[in-house]
């Protein structure tokens, strides 16, 4: 926090309006305006390859989706993907964060290697996993299973969603790890000393000191990952194309299919509005849940 009091608006103050305007206008133009347009299109029948069929159709597109079992499946798939990925990344992120917080030889370069997956392009990650690791005949996992005498597993066909979760988790565990590490680094050492003097064991240390301290960091991880996971696309597009059947068709992927594979813009727009509503609900829920917990921590 700056020590000198800031100047309030005076005759010498710069025109903050003009300093802020470009960024705000730019952002509004590219995010809010499309949203309004999407709303408009959701009330139209608009088939890209058959332009003569345009017309206002009221809520028909919304009804079409609500009566489409694929829509409900995609909602469920989205939740499964987000929650599973959250769970896996949080657990492993916590474990690895704690691990790399300890002092041991080689930890610097090991940590550098361990966080690498996060920077790999999602398309590349999906291709590596789909082909070189998970391919049921020529993949490394298949070779491993065969060496162990087990029948090879066709991961992407038999366990499509868990496979996608694995690919996503592989990329995001480093993210969670980094954040946990950074959060741990702000843990005051004297609190730990006091606890140790009082005879606390490692588990108690963890449960009553470390975890509460990390509450804020973990909530940031949950918030950010949820935002990103709700709109995961590249991994599904590259690895499974939403299949088999609808097993990995999340809401964003369904909207993509409706718009660019079935060319039904109106229905896709309606789906997009549903996606925005979903994102807002999740954000609201998260803010309340995390806000409440954080306040409890601060008070208690």
């Amino acid at each position: 926090m700056p020590a000198v009091p800031r100047r309030r608006k005076s005759s010498l103050a710069p025109p903050t309006f003009w300093l802020l305007a470009p960024a705000v206008v730019f952002l509004a133009l590219w995010t809010q305006v499309p949203l309004v347009l999407t709303l408009y299109y959701s009330f139209q029948r608009f088939i890209l390859v058959n332009p003569d069929l345009r017309g206002f159709v009221g809520f028909e597109n919304y009804l079409s989706l609500l009566t489409d079992p694929a829509f409900w499946v995609s909602l469920e798939r989205t939740l499964v993907l987000v929650l599973s990925s959250l769970g896996v990344t949080l657990v492993f992120g916590l474990v690895l964060g704690l691990l790399f917080f300890q002092r041991f030889p080689g930890r610097a370069w090991m940590r550098t290697l361990a966080i690498s997956p996060f920077f790999v392009m999602p398309v590349v990650s999906a291709l590596i996993w789909k082909n070189m690791l998970m391919h049921p005949v020529y993949g490394l996992l298949s070779w491993l299973f065969r060496t162990l005498g087990l029948p090879p597993v066709d991961w992407l066909a038999q366990y499509p969603m868990p496979s996608i979760v694995a690919i996503v988790a592989w990329q995001w565990i480093p993210f969670a790890t980094l954040l946990v590490l950074t959060g741990l680094q702000s843990l005051p050492a004297d609190v730990l000393e006091a606890a140790r003097i009082d005879g606390a064991g490692p588990w108690q240390e963890f449960r009553y000191i470390v975890l509460p301290h990390l509450a804020r960091t973990l909530s940031v991880v949950v918030m950010l990952e949820t935002i990103f996971f709700l709109s995961l696309f590249a991994e599904i597009y590259t690895a499974t194309s939403g299949g088999p059947g609808l097993a990995t068709t999340t809401l964003p992927y369904l909207i993509f299919l409706k718009a660019f594979a079935e060319y039904r813009i109106g229905v896709a727009a309606a789906g997009a509005i549903f996606a925005v509503i979903l994102a807002n609900l999740v954000a609201l829920f998260l803010l309340r849940f995390i806000g409440r917990n954080l306040r409890a921590e601060v008070r208690g």
């Binding site: 800031r6 903050t16 730019f26 999407t38 361990a114 392009m121 082909n131 993509f256």
Partner: protein
Amino acid sequence: MKRLRPWLLSLLGFLASFLLFFPILWMFLTAFKREEDAFSLQPVLLFTPTLQSIAEAWTRSDYLLHVQNSLIASLGSTALALVLAIPAAYAMAFYPGPRTTTLLLWMISTKMMPPVGAVVAVYLVYRTLGWLDNIWTLALLYTAINLPVVVWTVYAYFREIPAEILEAARVDGAGVKEEILRVLLPVAVPGLASAALLSVILAWNEAFWSLILTSAQAAPLAVYVASFKTAEGLFWAKMSAASLFAVLPVMVMGWLAQRQLVSGLTFGAVK
């Protein structure tokens, strides 16, 4: 904490980092194999490295064009984002008003909106304007996507800078522009660098808008690599070779700037 022996921790650390890094390493090695070695029932560990697969991946499409597109999209969007963000962050950090918090929260909220919410409209508008398959218009879009993050990171950094420095410049009679350009920016370089780094990484790796809005001329590396998503006979070596340059620059940047990225990605919540 865990009172384990250092060597045991080293072992665990090694296992974890090896398992996490292995797929990348494997891809890297595969890029230098012939297809027969890459696509075999038994993994080939000892092989004579060759540049053949790299040559094939690089000539199958105009690889340099794809690299150029990725560079334009990421560097261009970052540059524009900084140009827009710096004045805004300056205003919010040094001249906060009653609406500052609302403005910041609004910016974050635009990042929370799922891209599918805008894709249909953006595609159609771009199509009408003739902006499809154009790397510069894609860069404009990336600017908007990354702007909230850049603004937040720069804002958080500006707040750490004492206002006296600016006071001194103002006393000397400098206007707002000089204040920012000659005094603030040189001091703020680390914060600007981390914001820029973050924006470049996010834009480089992006694969949703790029797949939908580009076709031939504007396809960045992400789109070219995605064209390997179905089998083409023996193709893993080519696929890995195509991915090499798509991955290396960003990974190295990430290595060098781990801490700043954490701060940037969490909008300064975790420092």
